[in-house]
Subunit: 341 residues, 6 copies
Amino acid sequence: MKKIVTLGEIMLRLAPLGYSRFTQADTFGATYGGGEANVAVSLANFGMDAAFVTKLPTNDIGQAAVNSLRKFGVDTRHIVRGGARVGIYFLEKGANQRPSKVVYDRAGSSISTAKPADFDWDHIFEGVDWFHFTGITPAISPDAAEVCLAALQAARAKGIATSCDLNYRKNLWSKAQAGETMAKLMPYVDLCIANEEDAADVFNIHAAETDVTAGELNLDGYVDVARQLKERFGFKYITITLRESFSASHNDWGGMLYDGTQAYFSKRYAIKNIVDRVGGGDSFGAGLIYGLLSDLGPQGALEFAAAASCLKHSVEGDFNMVSVAEVQALAGGDASGRVQR
Amino acid sequence: MKKIVTLGEIMLRLAPLGYSRFTQADTFGATYGGGEANVAVSLANFGMDAAFVTKLPTNDIGQAAVNSLRKFGVDTRHIVRGGARVGIYFLEKGANQRPSKVVYDRAGSSISTAKPADFDWDHIFEGVDWFHFTGITPAISPDAAEVCLAALQAARAKGIATSCDLNYRKNLWSKAQAGETMAKLMPYVDLCIANEEDAADVFNIHAAETDVTAGELNLDGYVDVARQLKERFGFKYITITLRESFSASHNDWGGMLYDGTQAYFSKRYAIKNIVDRVGGGDSFGAGLIYGLLSDLGPQGALEFAAAASCLKHSVEGDFNMVSVAEVQALAGGDASGRVQR
Amino acid sequence: MKKIVTLGEIMLRLAPLGYSRFTQADTFGATYGGGEANVAVSLANFGMDAAFVTKLPTNDIGQAAVNSLRKFGVDTRHIVRGGARVGIYFLEKGANQRPSKVVYDRAGSSISTAKPADFDWDHIFEGVDWFHFTGITPAISPDAAEVCLAALQAARAKGIATSCDLNYRKNLWSKAQAGETMAKLMPYVDLCIANEEDAADVFNIHAAETDVTAGELNLDGYVDVARQLKERFGFKYITITLRESFSASHNDWGGMLYDGTQAYFSKRYAIKNIVDRVGGGDSFGAGLIYGLLSDLGPQGALEFAAAASCLKHSVEGDFNMVSVAEVQALAGGDASGRVQR
Amino acid sequence: MKKIVTLGEIMLRLAPLGYSRFTQADTFGATYGGGEANVAVSLANFGMDAAFVTKLPTNDIGQAAVNSLRKFGVDTRHIVRGGARVGIYFLEKGANQRPSKVVYDRAGSSISTAKPADFDWDHIFEGVDWFHFTGITPAISPDAAEVCLAALQAARAKGIATSCDLNYRKNLWSKAQAGETMAKLMPYVDLCIANEEDAADVFNIHAAETDVTAGELNLDGYVDVARQLKERFGFKYITITLRESFSASHNDWGGMLYDGTQAYFSKRYAIKNIVDRVGGGDSFGAGLIYGLLSDLGPQGALEFAAAASCLKHSVEGDFNMVSVAEVQALAGGDASGRVQR
Amino acid sequence: MKKIVTLGEIMLRLAPLGYSRFTQADTFGATYGGGEANVAVSLANFGMDAAFVTKLPTNDIGQAAVNSLRKFGVDTRHIVRGGARVGIYFLEKGANQRPSKVVYDRAGSSISTAKPADFDWDHIFEGVDWFHFTGITPAISPDAAEVCLAALQAARAKGIATSCDLNYRKNLWSKAQAGETMAKLMPYVDLCIANEEDAADVFNIHAAETDVTAGELNLDGYVDVARQLKERFGFKYITITLRESFSASHNDWGGMLYDGTQAYFSKRYAIKNIVDRVGGGDSFGAGLIYGLLSDLGPQGALEFAAAASCLKHSVEGDFNMVSVAEVQALAGGDASGRVQR
Amino acid sequence: MKKIVTLGEIMLRLAPLGYSRFTQADTFGATYGGGEANVAVSLANFGMDAAFVTKLPTNDIGQAAVNSLRKFGVDTRHIVRGGARVGIYFLEKGANQRPSKVVYDRAGSSISTAKPADFDWDHIFEGVDWFHFTGITPAISPDAAEVCLAALQAARAKGIATSCDLNYRKNLWSKAQAGETMAKLMPYVDLCIANEEDAADVFNIHAAETDVTAGELNLDGYVDVARQLKERFGFKYITITLRESFSASHNDWGGMLYDGTQAYFSKRYAIKNIVDRVGGGDSFGAGLIYGLLSDLGPQGALEFAAAASCLKHSVEGDFNMVSVAEVQALAGGDASGRVQR
């Protein structure tokens, strides 16, 4: 069984039920999520041996975060316990023209105060095939960036494949800070994952003439972005998720994979009654890692990723609760949604 | 007032709330339903005198099933009490490309262990105008198939009109078994109800060149299927529901009625925000029975059935909670959904 | 800060959760709302100083209604306490072809038994810039109509701008009664707000060749209606909301503003996954009042009103829980619904 | 099977969930109940043929009230449909020193506007063994009092046993009005049911030296009250429920039955974690009617009534959801509450 | 109307529903509370003009906190907006031998980063009669302690009565720190409020021979503590709440008031089915402030405080949702919990 | 870290929310539990390495059962997947005199059709210190009894300590069957766990003069029972839980441990507001296993067991969600339930 390690922050997600706005809610759904945790759960749901590494406080909220991962079979033995608090994000679900809204409350979380010495990568990486993190982790704190670097170097030394989802978060750092720090980490990365805006935000690499808000896609532009990323950092693969937002309830979705030679495009999916789009990008990354580790080939891995993440938009919570068989059915062409008995 | 009897199984339906998946749920909505019970409730909601016949255990879950029917005015006096358990089905609601999913747990239910001697059809059929069952009932057990046959023969003897919804369930029996058993029952049936696939599954009767998954309808093909059914079993009416599944959230819906001479087609309805499509076929059957018993004529009865079952897709649960006036308003052309004050 | 007073009834709104029908519900969401209260809350959410005037009983249900307004900063000091009961409306949410349904239970409410002497308009109108009511208030009782007249006369005396949403309710009075009473009040009104049908229902003023049920809009016709209203009552502004109902889940929405000289049309919005359309018209009126009080000009005020009320369709409850910034973002062209972090 | 008819009002009961107060609630549990409806459901749960007679509006709320009775097998065929509204009562559950609180909103309900001609007692009373009503029904309106009188006279003519729970409600009428009206009805009553205060409130008959608030019971005094009632109205049986209120969570409970010769006292039950005490008196009355109709003898019937109503305090809602076997187990001495597997 | 200002922190309170433990919960009830906010709401519920002063972020969670206060009529105009976050506390409700559990997550809250210059006490204290804070506020940060001092000095200058609830929180500061800081503030305080342990924790003042865990009360000891406090700081009044904890579900409760001359003791209340004891002390303080401001005399004010806070144990949430009439009924002797109709 | 294996059935537990009865519920809380699974979760919560062995179907309900165990860190790698269904039990929570009620629906579950060859005990028992099962497992089917025997023999061969909770279930087998089968297994058992009735039900061993229903305990009698068990089967330890049931809400609870020489009695706990008593016995067994494996000595282990299981009565669900520290605090004498901050 393939073994994957992801590193990052898992937060308590507090979301008003249904379509209530924050100021209307007197109950919050309480789940847990975060980019790299989401990838770990996706891979565990695909039957892989996925471990998640982070730091969490010793209190009951920290334990509940651990339990949320164990429930789906994620290996949590390498989670360090200590520090002050679990980071929180508040999520209000949008609909139609009203966008979803996120209020972050993550400052001072245990992982943000973690030190490189907290993690013994030689031990963590025993028997591991793949290491994944996102641009959020180094953004949390300078120490967290050091942790990422240490992990990447250990992975390189052990011949472990690596991936990074650029995932720029403007609340955590400036574009300049992101660009500088990420540039130091990218040389150790094999697979670079980005959405339509990340390359521009982090590395000032632009796809000409694309206006994301207007929902138009410039496919050639994205290939050009991938080529520039390849040139600058020497990635083995660059993949870009391609979302067209018609409204908070209706997105079209797909992806592109560039292997340095050729650009592959997935089928595109129209998702008109979105259930929960948070974690869509993470589920795409997880699908691609699964596909590449399972030797599905570039087009096969990309289609798996696109179908997996299409399904995520119909699943509540950060975690993508879908099986390989369900992804394959959709990737194989059955999008009819007929009842499975 | 017209009096209808239906015979079959009523199950406890356990469904995660909202769009939660089974492995996410710690609460299940608990309602009751099943093909023939659904028809009985629909007809009771239309103001008819509908009775449901089955066997249910004497425990509180059996009583809750009885109560769920009484609540809507269904006559439950002929329900036999005994046996081991209420059958269960677990239902996970789909959305977009993610299909709804059913897990059956019905083996060993009280009705599956019922004996022909449990039911006194002469008594049950006093003053009755119509008898309805579906292909699920004879599939439950050989004894249940005998019960169906006894009921049909008693109905024939008393001049009671009869209907059967073919409703093939691959978990209960093979196509060969279904074909053999159903062929013995069909000669006693006046109205045959089927979906796009039933005739092929049960009787190996095919409409050429129709690919249901792809969502294309071959209207001529369905008329041909109806003609073949008529020829083989001599039904008075054959009706076929015509569903195009674009996604779990969006179906187009309508029906065809063939009276041996002429094929009638209903209006088609686009249902883009499906609330609950389980029981859609049952609500169509109930609508048609209502229409025929109320002398609405073939086109009128068919339009009533199509409108009633269109509305079912916007109602939670197995039961179709709509009134004759509501169905007539839609069949009459008002699909605008404007607030009724 | 601009100061607005609205006068009317606030009711307890009892709505089955989700898409349950009345006969399926064993829980009701309990919120409060009513045309003029909704306008007051909208304006308070826009940061204005809004007061709501009504009569409510001294019991805990009356207090809960007061609290529901205070929560959002509405000034409730002028609410008179006394009388027998809080009016109630039951709301069942529709979907697709199944319309939403309202059952009113408002007879005998405290405001319906209020007397003109209950309200000291000189005191209430101190420092006030705008007075708003709807056609529901005078329909509640002859005394309530007298209260409206007294308020309008006091407003005129103090140079306060006034608006009336015609809001014809057939359950409260006949078209003839409405026409007679409203005609006495209109001379004191500066801004007349109507939906596609109100002018015809109340004043027998028709836009030729428009069939609302069919969902077709006759834009020229509405300008003609506005001109007739202007001629008859001398309003400064007439605004008409323009809804096309394709289903209970999908409406198109926009508005027209006529200033006696020119007709302005807003952008139109397609709302395909309606969350709650009750209060849509009220949120439009509030948006327009905000726009006019904020000197956005006719087109600017109209676009603000249209965007605000478009957003209302994605908010649960009667009250429009949106900020000026959110309205401006949509009016400014971003309808993509992308997550706001 | 014994057949019982009860006459009265069934209301929509709206109760904040758990221990929320009215001004904290944004959801109400919605059930239905009322003194005589509660008796009918209790008796149906005991396996008797119970019918409930009232008037309810034709709207969906009226239908939901009908369904709430049908669900438990109560015969609703004699319910007249028409009038304006379903009466409502709001219920806030107390705990410890904080009392439960009821806000009535029942004015103008359909039953309050019913006329004697609405009910054909000859037809309703076919094959009936017992007729029951409470002092609430004649208090609703003078016409309702006439309806009671007509029912009682018809019952007397047919030799049907009758019972009345005095149930004085100070919000509906004064003690003087109650005394005058009830005195006209009592001569037709066989079994008079009262709580500790009713005889004093309605007929100015006092048990010396009992202070209910202080929670002390004067057993001799209650026998004296029963004797006075017997002397004045000639009842066959007088029964008095004996509640000691230590707090909203802890009551002691039992009853006394006087047959004109002898006074019987039931076991007393300490109920220290009350779930819902509304309907406690009704469940006592139903238990006594069951016991007398089942020939359990005075002591047996009284013990059945006391045990049944003791259990009611542990059941949510107005209706007493307990079986004969459950009541017998408790009356027989097993109050240990051990899990029944 | 008397006008009171309280100063402190209001937190988001996140509590699993019912008796779920933190690691079992996937939903949190979301309310708001904090010592001084609780006092303000209590006083507003008693009909007084209460204002709450704090600092809250400009995001939606901060707004929800403001709304939670406005809902009950608390004046929120002096709340400063800014800073990073709303403090949070997680609350798990205990039962029987299992204690309630609080996890604080309040570091970095907006009020903890407030500066003295944020508050203009001259303006805030216009027309004010009473100022209240607790020992939590100065514990939040040295700046917050400065804010308290400034407020106290301004109050003294204006002749405003002041009160402080010692409320020692070991998670916020050491006993030594508390003692030093609080000693600087106490000279400006008129009414000192404490529980059984505060005087020892903060000022090392001990009541001999009292073991709180064991649930035994040493009444003389508390009078001695009050005398020592009086001697050391010259308070006008010292009041001590007296709780005996038999289990998480059962406490006895009362209070003592010392006016420098005489010690008054309230009735004691046995609360055996505790609903929510958080905020019990705050509701006592609010009751006493009400009583003193309303000239009820020492015994009268103390009985009002004890009854008000007894009732709090039967109310969900931090806020004491009870009226003056309800408190007076209990203080007047009716603890029977009989239904109020 | 000590390693424990338990063997048995885990069922889906479906329970109406709050105190609703089965026929009132339209929602079921859905958790998972069963005697041996409960022990495994308890031990995992105490920080031990606990594995649970069973057979579960490959469907999503089986997966959800696995996840419910993984969530709390139980090792589920040895769970065999296959068979037809997850067993179900319906649980209605009692209160006061109304008992809790269980409806079993476990026939045909996967574990009931498991074969001895499904489990490789040599592999499962690698490094294991303790093996535990209950009398429910051999009662499920003759094959399951064979599985138990094989496990016990393998444990004996490896020197693994063993325990059995007699747990007689009359729905699964007769006393005679139980006695015969259990007698074959007992020789391999070191620790025998029983409640007040098990020894009599299974082995016809009686404690003279104890009437459980009446809630009186005959302590000497239990020692006598333990001695007889010791004599007959040679157990190392016999422990008996001692419950006095005053009502469904109020039990007293404790235990006795006999080591062949001496009888130890634990403290007794009065639990007056029971939250959930299902799994009380299992939590006692788990506590005792923990105590013995941790070398707490007979009295220490017994007190740990009694305190752990006392706390279970205040925790929702089958699983005992308490930590070693929480148990030690109670065993150490703090039953005051004061808020832990």
